[in-house]
């Protein structure tokens, strides 16, 4: 938190610290006062900052590089930016970036506009004016009070982001101030908090294990959303298929729509549909026309896309559905993460409607995951669900940028000719049917959601045909070859920790700590939820104990039990928060002894 020395940063900082301590976190702080007591307002010299590092346990330093900077003015930004790593979040008081203020801070151009902040997650909040408005109605409060209360607005926003208890701070405000000033401060604090909640602000910290060996190459910081956007563009380029992305805004999935909407330069077409049903239908309609049809949503939206996904299963057309999971049920906690849509992805459609399910395991790996989802969709003519989550979508990590040339081409194998009558439901070796798109002479055909006769695709109510088609659809999906699970750590340990999705880094980190402490443990991570790797069952049986940590009530555990009849141990955390390395470490120790 940095601002002008008159901005009350120390006060806000210490309040946040208190609330954090009450919250039970371990912490370390580093107040950073300006050298001169009365440095000119708005200059870099006048910046006052307060840094706090907190976590559940194990705080060794006051945080080498902060994850979040709150900059109340351009000078504060200038002074603290060098401390920040790319990928960090910067919350700026947008109102304070007037031309004059920008110059005073020593910037030539407005740093919010000129690319200075590229690579950071910038959240622009008009803090001054929102505070003024919050305070406006309070009898007796002056505009100066409002002006002074904006530190509490910032504190409110931060408290929301990090779930700090509000009552502690409110009690403190009540004790410290009186009358209109008290009211003004309370109003500002609450307004900041409400702003966070109401406008569904999200922040997640980078939890990814950074101690892995770093391969040579060119890197950048990406969050999961950016990597997904790049992966989709790459799949479009490598397949030569136009990308048509239909979506309806929903936190935390909207950002992908925003990112792709900018990509006219790569020929990407985004449509903000009237609802999720339409969004999925648009992607599917586009797929019929030979596009890479993609739709992206979060839980409530996935519910609504169900019927259309089922149609895609019946039509056997390529389509990618991205589900950025958030905490449910129902509206739930839209700004909190969870992995609780797994069973829905697998089974949440009427009838027997199998489809491949892939999961993203880290911000950078979203690129690969979505690229693979597109590959599978196109190769097998099937909808594919990619499970991501709020945590992986919003956190960021250094990502080794692949060479475009090294990415495999995706051959859409569009059918353009036929000898004899065209059979839209004949199949190749992968059991995939031909994709013949409108505009192809001689291959006119009709497809639909009614059961189809094998090979011809004509409407069929025949029982044995239905049995056969049901089986073919399942075989096609279950026959997809996916790479074997790889064991990390001690392959002959007693305990295997098997995770999926965004907990990848955390599980690795937890296991590493255990190993550092002398424990022996193996880990593996599922990226393919249907079909599962061929060696999954064997691996599960090989270990004496298998721990399955998930941010849900044990959905993967349930599925593993059903498939492999192995009594895995479910560790379930449903708090809207990512798993923590420390927590993993503790759990592993628990099951080692």
């Amino acid at each position: 938190m940095a601002g002008d020395s008159g901005d009350g940063m120390q006060l806000a900082g210490s309040r946040f610290t208190d609330a954090t301590a009450v919250f039970g976190n371990d912490l370390a702080t580093l107040p950073d006062f300006p050298a001169e007591i009365r440095a000119p307002a708005g200059t870099v010299a006048g910046v006052s900052a307060f840094q706090i590092h907190f976590a559940s346990r194990d705080i060794l330093t006051p945080g080498d590089t902060p994850d979040v900077l709150v900059a109340m003015n351009p000078a504060a930004l200038k002074a603290n930016l060098p401390l920040m790593q790319r990928g960090a979040t910067i919350l700026v008081n947008e109102d304070a970036f007037s031309v004059r203020a920008v110059q005073k801070a020593g910037y030539a151009e407005n740093p919010l506009e000129d690319g200075t902040l590229a690579g950071f997650t910038v959240k622009r909040v008009p803090m001054s004016s929102l505070t003024t408005r919050a305070v406006e109605g309070i009898e007796g409060a002056t505009s100066r009070d409002a002006q002074k209360a904006k530190n509490l607005f910032a504190l409110g926003v931060l408290s929301w982001l990090y779930d700090r208890p509000v009552d502690v701070t409110e009690r403190w405000i009540r004790g410290k101030f009186k009358g209109p000033v008290c009211e003004a401060n309370l109003a500002a604090f609450r307004a900041g908090w409400s702003f966070g909640e109401t406008s569904e602000l999200i922040d997640v910290q980078v939890k990814v294990d950074r101690n892995v060996d770093v391969a040579p190459g060119t890197y950048r910081n990406v969050n999961g959303t950016e990597a997904t956007a790049l992966g989709l563009i790459a799949a479009s380029v490598k397949s030569g298929l136009p990308l048509v992305f239909g979506a309806y805004p929903i936190t935390p999935a909207s950002d992908l729509l925003h990112a792709l909407a900018r990509r006219h330069d790569m020929g990407a077409r985004t449509i903000q549909a009237e609802d999720e049903i339409a969004a999925a239908s648009m992607a599917l309609g586009a797929a019929f026309g030979g596009a890479l049809g993609v739709t992206c949503t979060s839980g409530p939206g996935l519910d609504l896309k169900t019927e259309t996904i089922g149609l895609a299963v019946a039509l056997e057309l390529p389509m990618v559905i991205i589900d950025v999971q958030r905490a449910g049920p129902s509206t739930g906690m839209p700004t909190k993460t969870e992995q609780s849509d797994l069973l829905q992805a697998l089974y949440g459609r009427h009838g027997e409607s199998p489809l491949p399910v892939v999961a993203a395991q880290s911000p950078g790996q979203c690129f690969e995951a979505v690229f693979e989802a597109a590959q599978l969709a196109i190769k097998y003519r099937t909808p594919v669900i990619l499970l991501s989550d709020l945590f992986v979508a919003n956190s960021s990590e250094p990502w080794r940028i692949p060479d475009a040339a090294s990415l495999p081409p995706i051959d859409p194998r569009l059918r353009t000719t036929t000898t004899g009558p065209f059979l839209p439901y004949s199949r190749d070796d992968n059991l995939a049917r031909p994709w013949a798109i409108p505009g192809t002479p001689g291959l006119q055909h009709r497809i639909g959601g009614l059961e189809k006769a094998d090979r011809t695709g004509a409407i069929s109510y025949d029982g044995p045909n239905h049995a056969r088609m049901t089986q073919l659809r399942a075989e096609k999906v279950d026959g997809i070859p996916v790479p074997d699970l790889e064991i990390h750590g001690e392959p002959d340990a007693d305990l295997l920790v098997l995770g999926w999705g965004s907990s990848y880094g955390t599980i690795r980190a937890g296991a590493r700590r255990v190993r550092e402490g002398g424990g022996r443990v193996a880990t593996a991570h599922l990226r393919h939820l249907r079909p599962m790797p061929a060696n999954t069952g064997a691996l599960l049986r090989k270990f004496e104990r298998v721990l399955v940590p998930e941010m849900n009530s044990g959905q993967l555990a349930h599925e593993l039990r059903a498939r492999y009849l192995v009594d895995v141990i479910s560790y379930s955390k449903v708090q809207g928060q990512p798993l923590l390395p420390s927590e993993m470490e503790q759990q592993i120790w628990r099951h080692l002894s």
Binding site: Y219, R220, L230, V244, R269, A278, S281, G285, A404, I447
Partner: protein, 325 residues
Amino acid sequence: MAAPELTKADFQSDQETRWCPGCGDYAVLAAVQAFFPELGIPPERIVFVSGIGCAGRFAYYMDTYGMHGIHGRGPALATGLAAARDDLSIWVVTGDGDALSIGGNHLIHALRRNVPIKILLFNNQIYGLTKGQASPTSELGKVTKSTPFGSIDGPFNPVSLALGAEATFVARTIDTDKQHLPMVLRAAAAHEGAALVEIYQNCPVFNDGAFDALRDKKRGAENRIYLEHGEPIRGVVRDAEGALRIGGEGEPVIHDAHREDPSYAFALSRLSSSPDGPTPIGIFRDVRRPVSGRDLARQLAAARAAADDASLDALMRAGDTWTIS
């Protein structure tokens, strides 16, 4: 190279048509198949998208590309297709339940966006496929399987609804009118944006005779109020208050389908509240408005054609990067 002349047979698929005998859908199908050669578009560049319902079966019978979708989602599927491809002639076939009940939202949004698709709404004022429930165009008091004591809800007027949703082309015609139906299709095909064509269609099994007042030779001649651009509208006058009326005192009205302000077309749509008396038939409105994504489609196609490994590399490496060797 001159393409061979197309004929009706080029549009007949080998699927046996499976409507009830006497269903109005047959007449529409025949008229559409007979009309299509005139467009000069090869069958492979035509797509019929449909929802679920008796009408939805239509897609199977045209020897074009076709997609029999799910209930009510035809316009959304077609919007996606239109976004992917600007070289196709895209037609949606839908019923009164499909378009106005479950699919109401997609219909109004496709019209608002002015997506380049032609929507044929087969209005039989009943649910045919599911055997006779009320639809949103069934009249108040209608006795059906789902409303055994009579429907308590008034109907939509599809033309009014479409105009309220900013439709740029709205027309109404009749299943068995072999002259009028193709005339309307011709205009719809020529229209650049979204076109909605309401087709009064008799369902002899579950709602026989609903349109007799217009389909009958004799009664039809009395009751049809033909709308022809630039021609006076027979029997319709503008009264002293400026309102349109059938009969009575007032100024004659010359039909102007191109009028920007939809209020006029809307007023025409209110001349009839159900098809059992004098009813306007023809093109209510046909105006130009930017077509959804028209220019964008070309621009994006060019961008995509140009996109290659080099541009992908550039995109991936945009912004701050660092290299470890």
